[in-house]
Symmetry: C2
Subunit: 454 residues, 2 copies
């Protein structure tokens, strides 16, 4: 067995284990070897459960030998952002002064992964409480650069092929942005598709779950696996989830229709990014409508900020009460800022959010997906002390829409950046179908050189 | 639409809705009409959510019109035993003096049903706290007879075609026995396959979930839907569940092997029942080994009783504390009896349970299923004031093995009774495959008259 199994997608790896072409133990061992070889530089693991992962891989193989039912991720390793509880592993929250408690039950998404047969490799680094303070994790493409945040480790471990798939979370742009910087697929399902029980909560209104993969089908399959009704989560709804794998593997009945909004905040984007977007929009021709910014959208980033600041401040209260040195300056400031927002301002913001949701319900009757930049540029240099600008993600997160970033482009220093596609709420399957169409279209109709180099 | 849709299996009904041959609203309306016509006599509903069911059926149809993903039970009505929480419906527990609380979250099995698109029709009658005091529910085959217990309403609603499928629970014989009496399929998955979170707990060691259906494939599919890892349940395990629908729809690789134990307690069975069993064993010829009672098994019913009495007494404590009139005499007595069992007796019983589990692990290397009676006879007359004798179910429940009853026989007054098949732990898929083989064998090789009339 000299093949590099870490080059397989998660779907392919599960299929190989199922068919007996290789074992889960072989797969996990190859990933552990890659971690050993590169993690000193990348530093993407808050907690690595080396022995537990090997032991579980052996059990997964034993299950197969016994002829027992296998799950869709049987024997495949996965990384979990360190604000998400995994039974028996400390939840570090990216803050060393908080005692990392060891939970006795796992987050619902982790239960779903275990039920699917996955191997939990460990906990991936996160910005402190999923906020903005940079981690010590580096970008696997170039250690001078940041992997972004807050799901820094989840993006970096997948980009570095320490695991094929990882789980993160997004309150502003914490999935789409690091995925764009690290050159992976990133997907944030619609709000309510995936339970947040067992997550550290920053904003009940905005917090959402996301995935990182090196393959589009993996993103759909992993999202199907972790999704599910959980009435303990206020956002969860009592109906079947969109079948995303069915979406990503089905043909679009007609050529999909896209739109592009000229957003005022696009002036924050680098020229590379805007040119790449322009190129895609041009290629798609009359499949894209270029729309002026709807007045309904112009104020939304500010609305996102009010809700986020207001809610995170309340969630920080118990930690603030522990003493002055518990939290970083960034979070102490965020707490202070949030506590100054009045209830009236907060509820006004929630009202605007509601009307924005109505706007989008209407909007997706005409369009399959919005095209947008995933980030404002390539990853920032780590020396800049920032995890990057999340502006391109805020409106869609606020509206709870499914967002996908495709790793299509290379910018300065061959650093990657992505194209973002945003779909209708709870139509995550349609967004995957549309994205698969677009990816196929670009791969077949466009010269490779033209596509990946701006 | 003049067809009687209530004659369809749940799998067929879901398929019909999916294909647009009829709507969920039509299906649910036909079931409601049957309830209206027969429930005055059968009295199987503790709480019927007529308006909610129709509304949800309309939403299920709307989902389909929108092209959204549909679940495996999309639009199909289901009944829930009234010791199991359903958000927004009172949990009555079969005891009128307890305030039926209205839970804000549903049991995990109910969440799984909602996620599958099912329509919760309401709560089915249960013996008080899933114990033994008879309900006012009658047997749909003949109102003079008891439907059994404690899952009285779940068995009766399915037998009466008020719903195609229902959920119950079994601590002794509360699924297999009423299913046998009412002539339905009854299945209790392996302990740990299905979460008990949101159930009234009588015995953490023995309580298990079960299903009632009029079709073997439905039993497998429904059990797949409700199963799932839930770390809040101590019995749940971190691996994929057995795929029961795959089991029931696949061919046995070789002719299955069965065994029959001559149990000392078989002297409690009616001659009709023993003759029917003998007939099946004879038919199967050298596919069945007749085994003398293993010494490991002889004492197990008594061990079951010690564990049940000990644990239910502790679970009744808070209700006993509410005052003398809260519980029935039967439960007050059970509490008193249980409190007299010492910790040493209890732990000795748990030790025997462990060695019994080891015995069965070995046993199922040689056999696909144990053949046993489902009950000691046909349903008891209601005038006898009992829900019937559970002796044939105790050992298998104690060992946490999957148990299935097939509605094969008719006894005195054409009242039904079943054949029980017991499989290896967590090999529920293999048990379904074996049962499908047996059912097919009996349907094809045996004269219909000979088969169903003893």
């Amino acid at each position: 067995m000299n093949n590099d199994l870490t080059l397989l997608s998660a779907v392919e790896a599960a299929e190989g284990i199922r068919a007996g072409r290789f074992s889960s133990e072989q797969l996990v061992s190859q990933y552990l070897a890659r971690i050993d070889a590169t993690n000193d530089e990348i530093n993407a693991w808050a907690y690595l459960d080396r022995d537990g992962a090997v032991e579980r891989a052996r059990q997964a193989d034993w299950f197969r030998k016994l002829g027992r039912s296998l799950g869709p991720l049987h024997g495949v390793p996965v990384g979990i952002k360190d604000i998400i509880d995994v039974r028996g592993m400390p939840t570090g929250l990216g803050n060393a002064t908080l005692d990392g408690h060891v939970p006795t039950t796992s987050a619902r998404v982790v239960e779903n992964l275990l039920e699917a047969g996955a191997v939990i490799m460990g906990k991936t680094t996160t910005c402190e409480l999923a906020y903005m303070t940079p981690t010590t994790t580096t970008n696997p493409h170039n250690a001078e650069y940041s992997p972004g945040g807050s799901s820094a480790g989840s993006a970096a471990t997948v980009a570095a092929r320490h695991v094929p798939i990882a789980i993160g979370s997004q309150t502003g742009g914490s999935v789409i942005r690091p995925a764009s910087y690290c050159g992976t697929y990133g997907f944030k399902p619609s709000r309510g598709v995936t339970s947040r029980v067992g997550f550290f909560q920053t904003s009940a209104t905005l917090d959402q779950v996301g995935v990182f993969t090196n393959d589009l089908k993996d993103a759909a399959m992993l999202s199907d696996v972790i999704g599910g009704l959980d009435q303990r989560d206020e956002a969860s709804y009592d109906w079947p989830r969109p079948d995303m794998y069915a979406g990503v593997t089905s043909d679009a009945p007609v050529r999909p229709s896209f739109c592009w909004f000229d957003m005022p905040y696009h002036d924050q984007c680098d020229q590379d990014v805007l040119q790449a977007m322009e190129q895609i929009v041009d290629m798609l021709g009359d499949q894209v409508d270029r729309l002026p910014v709807a007045p309904e959208l112009a104020t939304l980033p500010a609305v996102h900020k009010i809700i986020y600041d207001y809610e995170i401040a309340r969630n920080l209260e118990p930690l603030i009460a522990k003493g002055a040195d518990t939290l970083s300056v960034e979070l102490t400031d965020a707490h202070e800022r949030g506590m100054q927002i009045t209830k009236v301002q907060y509820h006004d913001a929630l009202d605007v959010k509601l009307s924005c949701e109505r706007f989008f319900t209407q909007h997706y009757m005409d369009y399959d997906a919005i095209i947008a930049p995933s980030a404002t540029g390539i990853a920032p240099l780590r020396s800049m002390g920032t995890t990057g600008n999340a502006i391109n993600c805020l409106i869609w997160t606020l509206a709870g829409l499914p967002c996908l970033t495709l790793p299509l482009f290379l910018g300065e220093n061959d650093m990657p950046f992505g194209l973002q596609l945003i779909g209708g709420k709870q139509e995550d399957d349609r967004l995957f179908r549309t994205s698969a169409w677009l990816q196929h279209y670009l791969q077949n109709d466009i010269n490779e050189e033209e596509k990946t180099n701006v």
